[in-house]
Amino acid sequence: MSSVAKGTRRGVGAPNRAVSIRIVLGVFLIVYLIVLPSYFAESRYILRVITTASVLSFISLGVWLTFTIGRINIGQGAFALIGGYATAILSTKFGVSFWVCLPLSGLIAGLTGIIFGLGILRLKGVYFAMITLSLTEAVRLGFLSGGDFTGGAPGISNIPLPDELGLFGITLIPDFGKVDTHIAFYYLAAVLLILGLAVIWRISSSRLGWIFKSLQQDEELSRSVGINVARYRVMAYAICCFYGGIGGAFFTVSQQSIYPSVFGVLDSLFFILYCFLGGLAFVAGPIVGAFLLFILFELLHEFQQYQQLIYSLLMISIMLWLPNGLLSLRLPAAFWRSRNIRD
């Protein structure tokens, strides 16, 4: 995927490659948006698995962005929880429509991220990792002791499904309760993921992306060439938290309930793992990682009590033999050949 990004940057010189990328992208979109949902229309379980993996990928995309500024972020679970509770409270206590709650949850998580980020982004390395891990726990305990407002330990249930979204009497999105909810949530997740990926892709291949990467290399150096380091790293972190908030809102409404342990330290850790397994150098890394790991876990059901054992062994093997991610596997020869000729 990074070679793809490089291609677009080189742009003018590689029209053929750009075309082949478009074709691959098109095929991918057709499979994702048309083939999969129609093939599995009757199999709700598989739809649900792909839906969940999509939104987990979406949340991990945010974590991936904090990796580009050189931070290990084990705090994404906290923001997914914040987004989730925002949607739960707004929709049950104030009757706000889900379509308002969704962006609002992202914004609330993003704003909270800015407030926290101003303080904690001064830390680096393991210290940042640990402080974000503590943040996950602190936020979970905060919601746990939130009294009536957050519903305490049992949380909030009976959260309504997304209602109809219309404009001038034309239905843009139907009421989820009146259509096949699995298909509806599948498409909601798919749209979120595609938009989310597009935005992150755009960021990482723009000037902003280069600034982020320069922060990862050397913050002092970046500062010396006149980059406002503090502002840019808070910006990256806020975008990350925004993704977390949106993802949390999605899960809240798709499972129609939320409670404090919905997202915990383990979830935060898994978001990082997804990025790693896919490959940190690639925008699509978190997506490949999340799909692989989540679906792998489901496939291993057949092995009953050995499920977790096999799962962890596979995880370790990938870390050992593909330390830079699955996507670091060589792309097919034809793909490279066309580029080499051009070079």
Binding site: F28, S43, I46, A153, G155, S157, H301
Partner: protein, 399 residues
Amino acid sequence: MKLLVNTFRLFLVGFVLLAFGVTTSQAANKVLKIGHIGVMSGPAASWGLINKYAALAGAEIINEDGGFEIGGEKYDIEIVSLDTKQDPRVAIAGAERLVYQEGIKYIIGPNVDDTTRAVLPVFEKAGAFNICYGWHRELFTSPSKNTALGMIAGYQSAPVIYKYLKEQRGVKSLACVPRNDASGLNSRDSCVAAADQLGIKITSSDSTYEPNTSDFFPIMGRIIGQNPDLIVLSGVAPADAPLLIRAARELGYKGLMSTETAMDANIITEIAGEMANGYISVGGASAPELRTDEMKRFIERYSKVAGEWNDEAGTKVYALEMLLQTLRVAGAAAIDDIEIFKAAMPKVNAEDPFIKGGKARLKWVGQGYFDQLRQVSTPMVITEFKDTDFVTLFIGYVE
């Protein structure tokens, strides 16, 4: 990008294989699949595993005897068991796998309020029926109709236990130590309500502890400072109970202690030993003097499946039995339609095969609590720990 497509293709193939591959057994009997879903890894692993082992042991015994008869036909029981990892996303995926992929209508689990809440909409929508071990009343009252409580809830046993302790042991004040999760806090609230009604003074109810606490000295220190006659461990995990008991005794506490849930005698003996003497808890058909031959056989089989007997399974033995008994009453049509099953629920009334005395019945109860019959008639066996085992104080029944 190509890789992505490749990966996807791989997944597709995997799914298709899964969808068509499995389960072609050549047994003479038809196969009846019963689902189990629960947490079987991580800190709470024991909760789900007990249910799984109990269901497996029950199924093995039935299959060994030639299957279970419903509508004149014999069925072999197959348990399909899935781990929730205590994660609502995994739980929902698992629930949908059971109901849609495996076509299962009757499910045992989940074990806690949290994940039960997450999977309920799935079962409701797919028309599946489950017996769960979360407690919250909301789960069993209308409009929720497809879930039944598999054991005695804290709000049912608490008043009975306190009344007994007030009358027989002169308890005038008590302190609650709840585990800080949905089940613990819920059970704390029912403890407070029951004590209020009986006029027992509550010295403390907000000293919660986090799941996974290992040192209970700090928390017990505070409780004992107020010197209550009785310390109630609300929603306590079987793992925490002996440690709490030990901490209290080591801090010089001399009074009574009790809980509303089932405990494991082996663990208590190992960790607390004689310090746990007098500890009052609620068991099922596990107390040695109550066991029927049927129960002894179950215990033997359970020990083989799980490696070791666990007294908590004395309340979990009922879930599979109740599902099957009700299916027998409802007839074979109910296997694919839970409406027929639900209609037959009031008609179930058989002798409890696991407990001696002939007084206990297998039936659906809970009318008084939930306004519908959504609870398994697990006997409420109030026991007291003595040396290495539980001694029965008295047996109660929920109506």
